[in-house]
């Protein structure tokens, strides 16, 4: 089976449940689907909104490459990644990752692998709008060490 990932960048809010339903449809050999949904946190009022900037054509291509690497590494049947861009309010979904595999371990691990990559290395630029103004955010040390787990 030749699997190709689907990568979607959107500046509009999306409904994760509909994406899960669609991803599960029409599968005969897939035994396991793992999904992850990341939401924007309010940080107890410190973050009025997040703003994520992408470089269309570059950002989606880079995510597509890592998704293809995940397909090869974990022998996946399919991957769907949806990532928000633009201004995101607390409570809204930022990212959706779905992985399909024959068995659960590969689906879980691939989902974890993809999220560690997306949080630390994906080409986005993130700005937080808070009560004290605006600040640009870079990956935390924790994001970096999480991603390095997969290099071993």
């Amino acid at each position: 089976m030749i699997a190709t990932p689907t990568i979607t960048l959107t500046d509009q809010p999306f409904e994760p449940g509909l994406l899960v339903t669609a991803f599960c449809t029409d599968r005969q050999e897939t035994g396991a689907i793992a999904t992850f949904v990341g939401l924007a946190r309010a940080e107890r009022g410190a973050a009025a909104a997040l703003e994520l900037e992408a470089y269309p054509g570059f950002t989606d291509a880079a995510i597509g490459e890592i998704a293809q690497a995940a397909i090869d590494r974990f022998n996946l049947h399919d991957v769907h990644i949806v990532h928000r861009t633009g201004r995101i309010a607390p409570g809204e979904a930022i990212v959706f990752v779905a992985t399909a595999a024959g068995h659960r371990r590969a689906a879980f691990e691939a989902c974890d692998f993809l999220m560690d990559y997306l949080k630390s290395r994906a080409p986005f630029w993130k700005k937080e709008h808070g009560p004290d103004g605006v600040r640009w955010i870079e990956p935390t040390d924790r994001d970096r060490t999480d991603a390095e787990r997969w290099d071993r």
Partner: protein, 79 residues
């Protein structure tokens, strides 16, 4: 000539994010941008800033044509 794109804090600092600049290669492009805005010129050579030509990261020199897209990418935040 090239279409220049700035991202993240570089665009905030420059006050623009998309501009056509007359330049035959990357070095002359940097010189032109620095002449117009020395602080931006310095930021474009700052730590962690990468250059993409036609959506591929390049290190070193590149010849530019009218159709070339040059993007300056500050350190990426992840999603």
């Amino acid at each position: 000539m090239a279409r220049v794109l700035l991202f993240g804090r570089l665009a905030d600092q420059a006050g623009w994010r998309d501009r056509v600049v007359e330049a035959g290669d990357l070095a002359s492009l940097r010189a032109t941008l620095s002449a117009a805005d020395p602080e931006l010129g310095e930021a474009l050579s700052g730590p962690g800033v990468q250059v993409a030509v036609d959506k591929a990261i390049v290190r070193g020199e590149r010849v530019l044509t009218a159709a070339t897209e040059v993007a300056f990418l500050p350190p990426m935040s992840g999603g």
